[in-house]
Symmetry: C2
Subunit: 241 residues, 2 copies
DNA sequence: ACCTGAACACCGTTCAAGT
DNA sequence: ACCTGAACACCGTTCAAGT
């Protein structure tokens, strides 16, 4: 998990608790694990310090000694989940496919933990796992022969692109569940379709015409189009000079 | 503003208040305007129903008669701000530039109201202004000769792409201000650079090597790269078949 | 070194009651 | 038709006090 060699970034919102020995029922790791469990089961709105304390059989105030604040806890949760992202070792001959694989892995993790992208907003992920993913992704981009500048811009854009897609895909949260069940999602899509189809065609010729496409538009296909366009365009730019 | 011809979508979280006559100091429009003013001045975390009531010289409970809930209010705020997005009339010869202009306008609005993208998360924007923007964007895509299917996928991806970029760009919120001031942003960037540069080079050869690039990476350039790649790739796909 | 209960300063929302 | 104060059920966080 945490790599003890690497000091945390200076803006980390966490108290210094280097001297932790025995593994007690309540510890930083246990709190993070419990938080992720709660988030996976009940979604972002269910996570409160009081509720999490209950879950661990402790008072809410106890948590503050370990994680400093709710914000600090979410920093830890974010890095823990970024740890689930898989980044292949760079192979210059396959760098484009490898970049796509990285993007797909990122999307998979974001779908598995639908609150993840929302937690990441406003945070600069620089925990040990984030560093590993960043380093690995940059390695692939450099293996592709991108200039230093384009490698960094491309890396930042890849994250934005995948996050933009998944924040949309996972944005709708149910009260009780982290994500609306598929049939509910379909119902929302159907309602949107019917509403679009009911608009006055003189004013909205294109929308009414395309109402059916909206309902059947496939997110998997859409994601593949996105990373195809992105990786292809990046490669083209790299080759251009 | 609101177009009375178009009925609201069925999932709109607003009470039906069709019979509104005199323009009083407190009205749906006045509440939305006050909310946007407050958000512009102090950011997303400053908006509470109590605070907004104060701002309008009314009790918080009074707002509920007009906007139903905070969620309903944010639906209205979102559509009002989408109204600031400019979409050019479709010109088949210039559709690629027009798509980029639409994306740039979207980004400008999101920078002017840095909380906007966060408000839009989890909402399907289907107010009158959103319909206008969607119809206009689809018109440009159809003018470009895209198939119905690719036009819809491309439209959805364009939004995701721009939002992914701007949610990153506007993600850091200050307590007192809607957005960190530029010098604070630079300080954050410098801290990140220094931290990256301080990492062990054996473990992070690419990050340490590229630390400088991270600090100087220009968001305007990055955005142009993004829409270049995206629009170009979309055109290529459209031409491919 | 760790955990606690109680308190502070907030939230969104409801509702009976007013005009 | 519109607005109110008071109440309900929550928040994150602090802090003196405990062990």
């Amino acid at each position: 998990m945490a790599d003890p060699e690497i000091p945390p970034p200076p803006w980390q919102r966490l108290p210094d608790r280097s001297s932790r020995k025995r593994r007690e029922p309540i510890s930083r790791d246990a709190i993070v694990a419990a938080a992720i469990g709660l988030l996976d089961r009940e979604g972002l709105s269910a996570l409160s310090m009081r509720r999490l304390g209950e879950e661990l059989g402790a008072g809410a105030a106890s948590l503050y000694w370990h994680v400093g604040s709710k914000d600090g806890l979410l920093d830890l949760v974010l890095d823990e989940l970024i740890g689930e992202v898989e980044v292949p070792d760079p192979d210059p001959a396959r760098w484009q496919q490898q970049l796509k694989e990285t993007a797909r892995s990122q999307r998979r993790v974001s779908l598995r933990h639908p609150y993840l992208v929302r937690v990441s907003i406003g945070r600069i992920p620089m925990g040990p796992n984030a560093l590993r993913v960043t380093e690995g992704t940059l390695a692939i981009l450099r293996a592709g022969g991108l200039s230093p500048r384009l490698a960094v811009q491309g890396y930042l854009l890849l994250i934005d692109t995948v996050n933009g897609f998944t924040v949309d895909e996972t944005g709708v949260e149910d009260g009780g569940a982290p994500q609306l069940p598929p049939e509910e999602l379909q119902k929302v899509a159907d309602m949107a379709r019917d509403y679009i189809a009911s608009l006055p065609p003189e004013q909205f010729p294109n929308m009414t015409d395309l109402a059916g496409e909206f309902a059947f538009s496939d997110p998997d296909e859409r994601f593949e189009i996105l990373i195809d366009i992105f990786v292809d365009g990046l490669a083209r730019r790299a080759a251009a000079r």
